[in-house]
């Protein structure tokens, strides 16, 4: 049973630079040129969405708060690339990327949800932290750290009882890995060999608490040993690496061989939420990680010219502007329907 990382990590948590493999090894053949571009564009769409959401928030046109995953796009798109329609997603509140990367997602409905409109995924009742697309088995982002972990046990049980080969992707962060729910959930999934893939997006901070101070082990994936399941740490800013690791985990899950714990090393460029002064880290540290921008990295892998690269980004911005226009034209929820949807 494989238990350790394919990609090792340096002491500061950043992936160690490795020898550059040839391009043919980098782009999975099953993606093809078009599939690779599609994935690049998906990451750009996520980036454009979040930057627009941030702008709308500072203009007071989106309210509440939001937890941006800017810098973490490769983890979301890489994971979804290894899954298929019919699989389940339990997401975190830094999960805009996963939601947009998921099957059949529509950035218009997502933006409408951000703006609290009736046309949004959750009719404006959920907002940034609770976006779900139940029809597509996206069982929702969760406002509670590790809130989705116990639920993924039930999803796994349900798959097992219904005897399908679906897989449940359960996302959480380095913060979530330190909750009791993490232990209960991974333990139950492992004793029952449930088809759950635990994806810990280790973005180095639980709000302000650095990963180094919150764990007495080098990597979150080391915890897998305690449950007798494979644990893998991967460069979360490398979409292809994430995809490859997921391919293995998905194959095991579909074959009834139980859960895998995947730790994707990444970094959030923005603060925890909108009211974060970021006193716990330096600008230099942020810049260092920004040099590892998963989108630019994949652009370089694809050997795109600046013009080609920017062209894709223009496409993404255009899509997002259309989503904003759609959302602004959408109706507000009606107050007399406030009590709808409490009970079935």
């Amino acid at each position: 049973m494989a238990t350790r990382s394919k990609v090792s990590a340096s002491a500061n948590g950043q992936p160690r630079a490795s020898k550059k493999p040839a391009r043919a090894d980098l782009i999975p053949t099953e993606w093809g040129e078009a599939g690779a571009i599609e994935r690049l564009r998906k990451m750009m769409l996520i980036r454009a969405f979040e930057e627009k959401a941030e702008e709308l928030f500072s203009l007071g046109r989106v309210h509440g708060t939001m937890h941006l995953s800017i810098g973490q796009e490769a983890s979301a798109v890489g994971a979804a690339s290894a899954l298929r329609v019919g699989d389940y997603l339990l997401n975190t509140h830094r999960g805009h990327g996963h939601c947009l990367a998921w099957f059949g997602s529509d950035e218009k409905l997502m933006m409408a949800e951000f703006m609290g409109k009736e046309s949004g995924y959750c009719r404006g009742r959920g907002g940034s932290m609770h976006i779900a697309n139940v029809d597509a088995n996206n069982l929702g982002a969760n406002g509670i750290v590790a809130g989705g972990l116990p639920i993924s046990v039930g999803v796994g049980l349900s798959i097992k009882q219904r005897a399908t080969d679906q897989v449940c992707l359960s996302v959480f962060g380095d913060g979530g890995a330190n909750t009791g729910a993490f232990h209960e959930s991974v333990n139950m999934a492992s004793i029952w060999q449930l088809p759950v893939i635990y994806l810990c997006e280790n973005n180095q901070y639980a709000m302000s608490m650095p990963m180094k101070k919150a764990f007495n082990i080098p990597q979150v994936s080391d915890r897998a040993k305690g449950y007798g399941i494979p644990g893998v740490t991967v460069d979360g800013n490398d979409i292809v690496a994430v995809y490859r690791v997921f391919q293995d985990a998905v194959a095991r899950a579909r074959a009834g061989q139980g859960p895998t714990l995947i730790e994707a090393l990444t970094y959030r460029w923005r603060g925890h939420s909108k009211s974060d002064k970021q006193a716990y880290r330096t600008r230099d540290e942020v810049k260092e990680w920004q040099a590892q921008d998963p989108i630019r990295r994949f652009g370089r892998v694809l050997k795109l010219s600046d013009a080609e690269f920017d062209g894709h980004r223009v496409w993404a911005d255009q899509r997002i502007n259309e989503a904003v226009a759609f959302s602004e034209a959408s109706a507000e929820p009606k107050i007399d329907q406030i009590l709808e949807g409490i009970f079935a």
Binding site: R125, H130, V134, I144, E184, M188
Partner: protein
């Protein structure tokens, strides 16, 4: 009619629900070979196998979450939390996930799960195994709270709870498990949110829940000999509450006493009193309303103290007389 104990009635409901619908499964600590700490699932493991009667580690958050996830994806799980006290460990999954998912997702998801749990004192198990926490859940929109007081109600309400497309907290009582009553053999359903008048009387309305229902009925027997007729009303489903029969009863009798085992502070009695005070029944009140509840104290171990901490038949008789005077 055939008589069953309360726990037998629950077991029969579970068995009939599992036989009728392959989506129904049981999950909890020691629900399998052991048969459940109080025997509610005895024999079902042998009948349906470990795949449908799932023994879990000591993981109350995990049990609740497993119910939520399975319910979200097409199953109809029935979880068991061994003692209601331990449900405190499941609160996040119940309150923040099960109750809210449907609403947060714009009404586009359903969470058809039941979580059974025995509450109440009287077994000498002291403060951490005697809680009556039902009102914690009554407070949460999106959860249904059911509390049967008889074997007949237990079976009919449990079958309805399993049918229901919403999360239901099903609160049983350890002292009721051994009580007997008539229970039809065929599956039957008692609608949720249907208050039941357990005894008709004209002098005082007594709204009682769970174990306090048989105690109120006993008190009513004693008082009838003195010419005082209690009307004993059992809400059965605490939330969403069917309050109309309670209001009608108070209009008739002009007097109200609420009896429950849970502590008075922030207890369900306050909700009943509030509903009545807001209703047209207010204008028919002839006396101040009385709440007869558990004392605001952790349940003590000592037998005498334990009994003194929650309403007994003699307490109901005494307070009823004072109100009707």
């Amino acid at each position: 009619m055939r008589e069953l104990t309360y726990v037998e009635a629950i077991r029969e409901a579970l068995n009939q629900a599992m036989a009728a619908d392959p989506r129904v499964f049981l999950i909890g600590e020691d629900v399998g070979v052991y048969g459940g700490a109080f025997g509610a699932s005895a024999g079902l493991h042998q009948q349906y196998g470990a795949g449908r009667v799932v023994d879990t580690p000591i993981s109350e958050a995990g049990i609740a979450g497993a119910c939520v996830g399975a319910a979200l994806t097409g199953m109809r799980p029935v979880g068991e939390i061994q003692f209601m006290d331990f449900i405190t460990i499941s609160m996040e999954q119940l309150v923040l996930q099960a109750a809210k998912i449907r609403y947060m997702f714009g009404g586009k998801a359903t969470v058809p799960m039941v979580l059974r749990t025995p509450g109440g004192s009287g077994t000498g198990a002291a403060a951490q195994h005697s809680e009556s926490l039902e009102n914690w859940f009554v407070h949460i929109p999106g959860l249904k709270v059911v509390m049967p007081s008889t074997p007949y109600d237990a079976k009919g309400l449990l079958l309805s709870a399993i049918d229901d497309d919403n999360p239901v907290i099903f609160v049983e009582h350890k002292l009721l498990y051994k009580t007997k009553g008539p229970v039809p053999e065929e599956p039957y359903r008692i609608p949720l949110t249907q208050t039941d008048v357990k005894r008709v009387g004209q002098h005082l309305t007594v709204v009682a829940t769970s174990m306090m229902v048989p105690r109120a009925l006993q008190a009513a027997e004693q008082l009838a000999a003195e010419g005082i007729e209690l009307e004993v009303v059992d809400p059965r489903t605490l939330s969403p509450l069917d309050d109309a029969p309670i209001i009608r009863s108070v209009i008739k009798t002009g007097r109200l006493m609420v009896v429950h085992e849970a502590h008075r502070n922030g207890g369900f009695g306050g909700e009943i009193v509030g509903r009545v005070a807001e209703s047209e029944a207010f204008d028919y009140l002839e006396a101040p309303i009385k709440r007869l509840c558990g004392l605001d104290v952790p349940i003590p171990y000592n037998r005498t103290l334990e009994a003194a901490a929650v309403p007994q038949v003699a307490d109901i008789v005494r307070e009823a007389k004072a109100l009707v005077k």
